[in-house]
């Protein structure tokens, strides 16, 4: 990676520091990196360590003067045996798996179509991209309006196409439909994300590969399975990684759309965490839950990145 010139620069003797800006490269490197690292240590790592410490205690943030007791792994034991937590994990898994499956199918199909470069494709692409740039919280909020029975646009549109009575079903208030309403809004918002990454993958395939396949008289179907899909795979997997991490920690959109309801049907992990930490004020308990969630994301992401590397090497 490094050129000879660069190594020579890196090994150059320290110049005297009296001249303005005449610092050694090593000094500049540290001077440039340290502020960012310090900020991250103060606002990310220190809180994380603090969370770990709190997770072994019975601390409650609304009673700062109560005696602090170390209770070992009791919080972790309680969480892993708490049916509510397992319920939240299931709700999260349902949400993550279905939203990603839908986004992959829709996003990939759209990317294939847009890659045909029809007239006006860049205009329509920009239109499709808009939802993902918006604030998830504000999006969750206005979808509560669109999903209202009777007055909402969504129910009326469904009624228009199916002939059903628009007030005969409610997306947010119904136990069976509420999980699908958060999946639907997430899919609406993030399909463009998967689409954009797939499109980059499609555009990275050199034309000569298709030309060669054409010479070999490979059918379009065959070309898709043996050229297009494998070549786009690393991109698609990257998109899935980013979406999975984001959706696993999803809070804002769900909090405003259903806030975990009805009952606890759509209570995904982050909502449980918020309830424990900022409504029940069980700081120690919620810290342990936070650590478990973080370790899960981090561990799963690491395993996945290894798999991604294997796909890339093929």
């Amino acid at each position: 990676m490094s050129t000879l010139a660069e190594r020579a620069v890196a090994r150059a003797p320290r110049r005297p520091a009296f001249r303005l800006g005449g610092m050694s490269d090593r000094a500049i490197a540290w001077l440039f990196i340290t502020p960012s690292i310090l900020l991250l240590l103060a606002i990310n790592i220190f809180p994380l360590l603090w969370t770990i410490q709190l997770s072994f205690t019975n601390y409650r943030a609304n009673r700062p003067n109560a005696p602090l007791r170390y209770i070992g792994l009791a919080n972790y034991r309680d969480i892993l045996t708490d049916p509510d937590v397992w319920h939240a994990m299931q709700a999260t898994a349902h949400f993550v798996l279905w939203s990603i499956a839908l986004q992959v199918v829709l996003g990939f199909s759209l990317a294939l179509l847009i890659n045909r470069r029809f007239r006006g494709h860049s205009f329509w692409t920009t239109m499709i991209l808009l939802p993902m740039m918006l604030s998830p919280a504000v999006v969750g909020n206005f979808w509560t309006f669109l999903l209202q029975p009777q007055i909402g646009l969504f129910n009326s549109a469904v009624a228009f196409f199916t002939g059903a009575d628009p007030s005969s079903f409610q997306m947010i208030g119904d136990v069976a439909l509420a999980p699908w309403s958060i999946i639907m809004v997430d899919t609406w918002m993030w399909t463009p994300y998967v689409m954009l990454i797939c499109l980059a993958g499609l555009r990275s395939i050199p034309d000569y590969i298709y030309e060669a396949a054409e010479v070999d008289r490979a059918s379009p179907w065959r070309q898709f399975w043996s050229i297009t899909l494998p070549m786009v795979m690393p991109f698609l997997m990257l998109a899935i990684l980013f979406r999975a991490i984001e959706n696993f920690k999803m809070f804002d959109m769900v909090n405003l759309l259903t806030s975990g309801g009805p009952g606890s049907t759509t209570e995904v992990a982050s909502i449980t965490l918020k309830r424990e930490a900022f409504e029940k004020w069980r700081t120690g308990y919620s810290s342990a839950l936070a650590i478990i969630l973080f370790v899960t994301v981090f561990g799963a992401a690491n395993i996945y990145v290894r798999a991604l590397d294997r796909v890339k090497q093929r």
Binding site: I37, L113, L130, V138, F145, L146, L238
Partner: protein, 316 residues
């Protein structure tokens, strides 16, 4: 980007371009409809906005916008008739609903908070990110890959997970519900994005430029400021917009750590209440105003969008 004509071979001949175009356009229209609906709702009266069946076209009204910027109180007809005639068109509009304007609403201070916190944290994150990215790009930093991964991994934490100790920390430092606290927090979240994106952009600037400048007698720092920075302007601008969008849209930290003085728009918008629940035209008006800058940025950023959303992992 390849030459368009070269693509003729790669196209699946079974599906003509026009059909692809029609399907994509149809999807785009469906996807845009909710946004158009919100835009339209902003120009409806509160009654029209919740009519059944929903009205597509209604008498245009700016009542939503008036309600967004004011607080109003309902008055008896006797009291209203005892008042002097309304001075302005918006007073007249409010008066016609048998209400009087009690004062301005909190939307302007909240919008201002969004701007101050957004630009403040973006400025800091881009400054810190640019110099760190330059160091990672040009110098041999020990454990560079580990440090870069560490910087990225801070993004994997659920915001609520770090929010607990940050809440405690801010409480001890007196930073709860202050703009300074929020600026520092968003800077920390954005700096990881800024470092990763900018490292990609700076990697693309040939080293020979600075080396030539240094041969001409520039010091390393002078070369950085006078040669590299001007070359990186586009990358820095794109990064800044991404940081700004993040801070602009952020909700979890904002709702947990602010309640008044430093509250930004996302936690504020859902609590625009009229008589009997959310005042939908006012909410829609706020949403429209809040989305407009993002709309603009998306169009400006189109070429760099892919990079920004993948932490620089995918470049076109």
């Amino acid at each position: 980007m390849s030459v368009p004509s070269a693509h003729s071979v790669s196209e699946l001949s079974s599906l003509p371009k026009t059909i692809a175009g029609i399907v994509v356009a149809a999807y785009a229209i469906i996807t845009i409809l909710p946004l158009l609906w919100i835009f339209l709702t902003g120009f409806k009266t509160p009654t029209d906005s919740i009519s059944y069946p929903p009205k597509i076209f209604s008498e245009p009204s700016v009542e939503g916008y008036v309600n967004l910027f004011t607080t109003r109180t309902r008055q008896t007809p006797e009291f209203l008739s005892s008042l002097p005639p309304p001075q302005t068109w918006y007073e007249q509009l409010v008066r016609s609903r048998s209400m009087v304007i009690a004062g301005p609403s909190k939307v302007l201070p909240r919008f201002l908070n969004s701007i101050v916190i957004g630009f403040g944290s973006t400025f800091l994150a881009v400054c810190l990110g640019t110099i760190a990215a330059y160091a990672f790009s040009r110098f041999r930093v020990p454990l560079a890959d580990d440090l870069l991964f560490f910087i990225l991994s801070t993004r994997m934490m659920p915001p609520i997970a770090v929010a607990i100790p940050i809440y405690l920390m801010f409480r001890n430092l007196g930073l709860t519900d202050t703009k300074l606290g929020m600026i520092l927090l968003y800077t920390a979240v954005n700096v990881s994005l800024a470092v990763w994106l900018l490292k990609g952009f700076i990697d693309e600037i040939p080293r020979e430029y600075e080396e030539a400048a240094m041969v001409d007698g520039y010091t390393r720092l002078q070369a950085f400021f006078k040669v590299v920075l001007p070359q990186a302007t586009t990358g820095i601008a794109a990064t800044a917009i991404f940081c700004l969008i993040f801070a602009w849209n952020e909700y979890a930290f904002a709702v947990l750590l602010t309640s008044g003085d430093a509250q930004t728009m996302p936690p504020f918008i859902p609590f625009i209440i009229g008589e009997g629940g959310q005042d939908w035209p006012a909410v829609a008006a706020a949403t429209t105003l809040f989305f407009l800058p993002i709309l603009l940025f998306t169009i400006v950023l189109r070429r760099h969008l892919l990079r920004g959303i993948t932490f620089g992992a995918v470049r076109k």
